[in-house]
């Protein structure tokens, strides 16, 4: 890094165009409009084009998996950075959503079109009710309990031999074709990404952020923090359960491997890489991490080593994450200023 005199420090200033595009003035010119819309369009169009770019069946399947992890990472980022609940429950949401979709499809006879939304809502309610006892508490309890449930449920299914036991539930209806599968997933990610971004900037989103910032003041304002945390957990688990339901219909099989810890850990790693608190960052993180993890499959168990190295490099060199770094460069410029 460049050495500068001690009396200078780096100063970051918002670009003029960022300030100009803050309000209604963004409509002033095409340039301002482009400044706002190009990054968003880039993401939307890029995601929609993915199925055409990917070579072969195998990589097209990877897109769907990326999207499922993307949904999980989105729900993790929302809970962790906007509500202050560190959730290790990715596997819990996937498992619950997956099994409910499997039951609805196999034994009730819902087609994927109905079983996926139903599994999302029912799974969201189920997860929220189970997580409710630890919501009034602050601290690490939510993380521990959300980590514990998938292990517990997997063992219960195994021990009692219910819901297909260790064999799982087979013969679940699939998506009509590969295209509908991929575009369902991509649209789910995009819709929930923009919906969550909208949500956190609404008044109720401010309340969520306030619960994270300072729960005592929220209680002193006459609002139950448990109530709002429960709403946030419902939103997050709904997203996760939708992902699980889709996964079951993609694999046409539901088993206790849905409760695997990968679903809890990888979204967190993706959030670290993508940049926490940006919502879009974690999705990008998944777009990077999941394909890497597929590429490294050839190395067998060694892949965990490479994987850890990548993570470590990110934590050491770019701990803020790609999106936070990118947004800063996009919105601000730096200059040396006299102290």
């Amino acid at each position: 890094m460049e050495q500068k005199a001690a009396s200078l420090r780096k100063e970051r200033i918002d670009r003029g165009i960022k300030v100009r595009t803050d309000g209604i003035y963004a409509l002033m010119s095409l340039r301002e409009l482009a400044y706002l819309s190009v990054p968003r369009l880039l993401l939307i169009v890029g995601m929609l084009l993915l199925p055409f770019i990917m070579p072969g069946m195998y990589w097209q399947r990877v897109i769907s998996i990326v999207c499922i992890y993307g949904l999980l990472a989105l729900s993790f980022d929302f809970l962790a950075h906007y509500v202050g609940l560190v959730s290790l429950g990715g596997a819990f949401y996937i498992g619950v959503g997956g099994y409910i979709a499997a039951i609805l499809n196999k034994w009730v006879g819902f087609s994927p079109l109905f079983s996926i939304p139903a599994a999302g809502i029912l799974g969201g309610i189920f997860c929220t009710v189970l997580l409710l006892p630890c919501l009034p508490l602050r601290g690490v309890y939510f993380a521990i309990v959300s980590l514990m449930y998938p292990l517990v449920i997997a063992r219960i299914i195994e021990a009692l031999n219910i819901l297909g036991g260790t064999d799982g539930i087979m013969g679940i209806g699939s998506f009509p074709n590969q295209w509908s599968e991929q575009y369902t997933m991509i649209l789910l990610v995009l819709v929930f990404l923009f919906a969550m971004r909208r949500l956190v900037n609404l008044d109720i989103g401010l309340v969520f952020r306030a619960v994270k910032d300072n729960d005592q003041a929220v209680r002193a304002s006459g609002m139950s923090i448990t109530h709002y945390k429960a709403m946030a957990v419902f939103a997050a688990s709904l997203i996760g359960c939708l992902g699980g339901a889709c996964l079951v219909h993609i694999y046409m099989w539901s088993g206790i491997s849905l409760f695997a810890l990968d679903f809890s850990i990888l979204p967190i790693a993706a959030t670290v890489i993508g940049g926490g608190g940006t919502l879009v960052g974690p999705v990008l993180g998944c777009l990077i991490l999941v394909p890497i993890s597929e590429l490294l499959r050839e190395f067998g168990t060694l892949r965990i080593v490479f994987y850890s190295l990548i993570l470590m490099a990110f934590i050491v060199f770019r701990s803020e994450g790609i999106m936070v770094y990118g947004q800063r460069k996009y919105h601000q410029f730096e200059r040396w200023a006299k102290v």
Binding site: R209, D213, N214, A217, R219, S221, G222, M223
Partner: protein
Amino acid sequence: MTDKTILEVTDATKTFGGILALNRVSFSVNEGEILGIIGPNGSGKTTLVNCITGFIRMNSGKILFRGKDITRKPPHKIADLGVTRTFQIMRPYFSLPAYKNLVIPLFSPRAKRTGGWRGGGKLGDRNTVGIDILEEIGFERDSFVPFKIASTLPTGYLKRLELARCLALRPEIILCDEVFSGLSMSEIASMVPLIERLQMEGITLIMIEHRLRELFRVANRIMVLNFGEKLTEGSPDQVMADERVKVAYFGSEDVEEVMTYA
């Protein structure tokens, strides 16, 4: 100011481990009055506020608000009834701009009920109402102060923001936990009329203070706590004259000299 009792505390007792923080404290507050609570450090003033607003459960005792028992209610239910509080250590939402801090209390069920609007209507959205309240409490409307992130605001504004958060709920009682502490003389001087105006608007105030001179100016009655017990209660003059208060507050040494300093 009327003679109607709005808040009645009977035999409030709270222990922390072996320490008796509050020992059978009883008092009542009339509607529209300003009750000052003073006492040396560790005499249980903040504990009393925490007990009344439900942030701490009492071991025994009873609290009635307008004849309704609120002893075992959770904090948000008590705030919902209109018993609000400020925090001694300011608790704004540090990452949000000042006016956005008020969107949160304005979102509460009580604000929706008492405000006569639902996030729109003739009073404007919550942001507008928030800026209005901030102006009322002393944030200059046309300056950038209401739009600054709360973590960059100086103490004086944060204290006002605490009060503004209570006002957003349209409270019946505000329990002010040391709103004057940490402020400069001029900041206090601008705060006193504000307190007086709140009283004129019919809000009952319970003020915990260490700044006695300013408190005695605004308070109708003073209650003195010492080691968790109620020492005495009366008009500011009566309390000032009470020998036990002087001893408790300033030690038993040369009282006169300290008193003139205070």
